[in-house]
């Protein structure tokens, strides 16, 4: 039991650490490619969609929009790797905290 508990705890910690890395990569990617329109740290978006309001349970919608573009937003699928887009989602879902 103890071993499983430790294993579970370890994997939870590793998972948490991995999630933190995602958010950090997401924050960096966001700052480079998204902040100009969606606002620094998602505050004060200049007429672009307010990402702080993006539903936290619609990852697929987010990934599609970033990859393919939507309305005035150009497609980023040709520029960003899937891991970077996933990291962006981690950052947005975390509400801009990192």
């Amino acid at each position: 039991m103890k071993k499983i508990f430790v294993a579970c705890a370890l994997s939870a910690l590793t998972g948490a650490a991995a999630a933190q890395e995602d958010v950090k990569l997401g924050a960096d990617t966001y700052a480079r490619h998204c902040a100009a329109c969606h606002g620094v740290r998602m505050k004060d978006p200049e007429g672009a969609y307010d990402l702080l309001k993006f539903p936290r349970d619609q990852k697929e919608r987010f990934v599609n929009a970033v990859t393919r573009g939507k309305s005035s937003m150009p497609p980023f699928g040709g520029l960003l790797k899937p891991e970077e887009i996933a990291a962006l989602w981690a950052y947005v879902a975390a509400g801009g905290r990192n």
């Binding site: 100009a36 200049e46 007429g47 672009a48 573009g69 005035s72 150009p74 040709g78």
Partner: protein
């Protein structure tokens, strides 16, 4: 003399073509030519946007009604100025160019501009397209992904296309091209992406590039002493993204240049010619004949790209060939357009980064303590905001009243240079600052629409705009009317003498474009594009309050 002879030579070759539109006609546009045509960006090479037409005037404007409207199938904004030649209107947006019958409003042809959708990544401020050029039976248009294209004016079919630049380097084109002295010219944009600004000249018949004049000097070139001695100049900005005005007697075309790259000037010590400047070029060679720098060592995102309106004004009893320019930086300048000397420079909105009056003997702004603290890395409140006292939308000038008509914004920013140098990566923002809007006193007007004396920047009248700033071009007519539009969609005719709204029509979306007026079979028409977008600021204010959707609106007097 030289340009006249050249014009004659060209005219002999092409006057015979029915659909042709000649150098002579271009020179005569708003300069003695027929009011049936609008052949140039700015309604005349001088870009005064003044019409001698009087059919629509202060008494008759109450009968002004829409006579047709046409959808432009676009929700990212309309900024264009239509052109008219022989009863056909040429206009469009970032997505397409269209030819329209001016009487019926029926489409004659439509040609998609067809650009790489990924290029929108390197456009800072909206998917804008400000117009086309006409010459010798061709319509010239630039694409967002930095191509220049020639279409057959009769059919809209593409005749040639030429690559101006690689958009992946952060370069795009949002301005109307222009043809002057037989040369087709375009500027470009990308000041936020560490580009090296340039104007390029092409053969209108073939699209072959004739010259490219960079807006930062080569090492060793005169002006390079205002840059560090490394390759900083290659990412220095100075992108000219508004169509140049032209004086055909002097044979000089005047282009304004954008902010510096990166935004934070501390990484490029020096005045940085010819960033945030006006340059006077020869159309045939691109040679810089003179320059004037609006904002030396520019670090505020005060693009110097606003239009350079040419007019003759009386200064101390003497008629002077003037160039008038309302800069982003909050100053209204009057230069001698023969040599670039400063005649007058005064703030037209609240400024706190420089003293509000420029001494013509000094010829240069005097920065304040606010500017010093900003350059030293402190977080400061700057007036005007980086989007400027006035942005790209062009002003109008009445040569009879010698007044300028345009909307201005009163706004401040919170601005700070970052401590670290930004990393340059092609196609990515190259800034080095943090900038946000300062909280605004919502009881104060956000801006004004005013009639200004160019020499003093003092208003003859000033109408507060409480709800939103205005973001529209202007037109002034001999009928005593000034036309402009609001972000909330009203297209208005103001009494030129008082600013009172004498007429307005609620168009389908916000007005951020450039109205024109012309005649056809003796009837005067006014046309404006309606369609919110084209600028992040214009969208910011009206988000959720005004619908998007572009269309052309044409008005004329209802018969009695």
């Amino acid at each position: 003399m030289k340009s006249f002879a050249t014009a004659l030579a060209l005219c002999v070759g092409c006057c015979s073509l029915a659909q042709a539109q000649t150098q002579q006609e271009l020179l005569a546009d708003s300069n003695g030519g027929t009011t049936d045509n609008v052949l140039t960006y700015g309604m005349g090479y001088k870009q005064q946007r003044y019409s001698p037409l009087k059919q629509i005037n202060k008494s008759t404007v109450k009968r002004l009604v829409p006579v047709w409207a046409m959808s432009l199938n676009n929700d990212v904004g309309e900024q264009g100025q239509p052109l008219v030649y022989n009863g056909v209107m040429y206009t469009g947006n970032v997505k397409q160019t269209v030819a329209i019958d001016v009487v019926t409003g029926r489409q004659i042809w439509a040609t998609p501009i067809d650009w790489d959708p990924a290029a929108a990544r390197i456009v800072c401020c909206g998917l804008s397209q400000r117009g086309v050029a006409l010459y010798n039976g061709k319509v010239f248009v630039a694409s967002l992904d930095a191509y220049l294209k020639a279409l057959d004016a009769k059919t809209g079919k593409e005749i040639w296309r030429t690559k101006v630049a690689d958009w992946k380097e952060g370069i795009s084109i949002t301005s109307a091209p222009t043809v002057a002295n037989g040369v087709l010219m375009t500027g470009m944009t990308g000041g936020e992406y560490g580009v090296r600004g340039f104007v390029a000249g092409y053969d209108p018949e073939t699209g072959k590039e004739l010259w490219r004049r960079f807006m930062t000097p080569d090492p060793g070139e005169k002006g390079s002493e205002t840059w560090p001695k490394d390759d900083t100049y290659k990412r220095g900005g100075g992108a000219p993204w508004i169509t140049g005005s032209y004086d055909s007697e002097l044979d000089l075309i005047y282009w304004g240049t954008s902010n510096g790259g990166p935004w934070a000037a501390k990484w490029r010590p020096g005045d940085n010619l010819w960033v945030a400047s006006v340059v006077a070029l020869r159309p045939r060679t691109g040679e810089i004949v003179w320059h004037f720098q609006w904002t030396p060592a520019e670090t505020y995102d005060f693009d110097g790209t606003n239009e350079n309106l040419l007019g003759d004004i009386t200064v101390g009893g003497v008629k002077r060939k003037a160039l008038m320019h309302a800069d982003r930086n909050g100053f209204l300048y009057v230069l001698d357009r023969t040599n670039g000397k400063l005649i007058a420079g005064n703030a037209y909105v609240k400024v706190n980064w420089a003293q509000p009056h420029i001494d013509p003997a000094v010829g240069r702004v005097e920065e304040t303590d606010v500017a010093k603290r900003l350059r030293a890395g402190e977080k400061v409140e700057v007036q005007p905001r980086w989007t400027g006292g006035k942005n790209w939308f062009p002003m109008a000038f009445n040569p009879k009243t010698q007044k300028l008509y345009f909307p201005m914004t009163e706004e401040a920013s919170i601005y700070q240079l970052n401590t670290d140098m930004p990393a340059y990566k092609p196609g990515e923002r190259y800034m080095g600052v943090e900038n946000t809007s300062a909280p605004r006193d919502k009881t104060a007007p956000w801006g004004y629409y005013a009639a200004l004396d160019p020499l003093t920047a003092k208003p003859a009248w000033k109408i507060p705009q409480p709800e939103f700033p205005m973001w529209s071009g202007s037109l002034v007519t001999a009928g005593g009317l000034v036309f402009s539009g609001r972000l909330t969609g009203e297209f208005m005719a103001l009494d030129e003498a008082t600013g009172k709204v004498l007429w307005q029509f609620q168009t389908s979306s916000g007005v951020t474009s450039q109205p024109i007026t012309f005649t056809h079979k003796g009837r005067q028409y006014i046309t404006v594009l309606s369609g919110l977008g084209g600028g992040t600021s214009a969208r910011r204010e009206t988000q959720g309050k005004v619908q998007v959707g572009g269309s052309v609106w044409t008005f004329a007097l209802m018969p009695k």
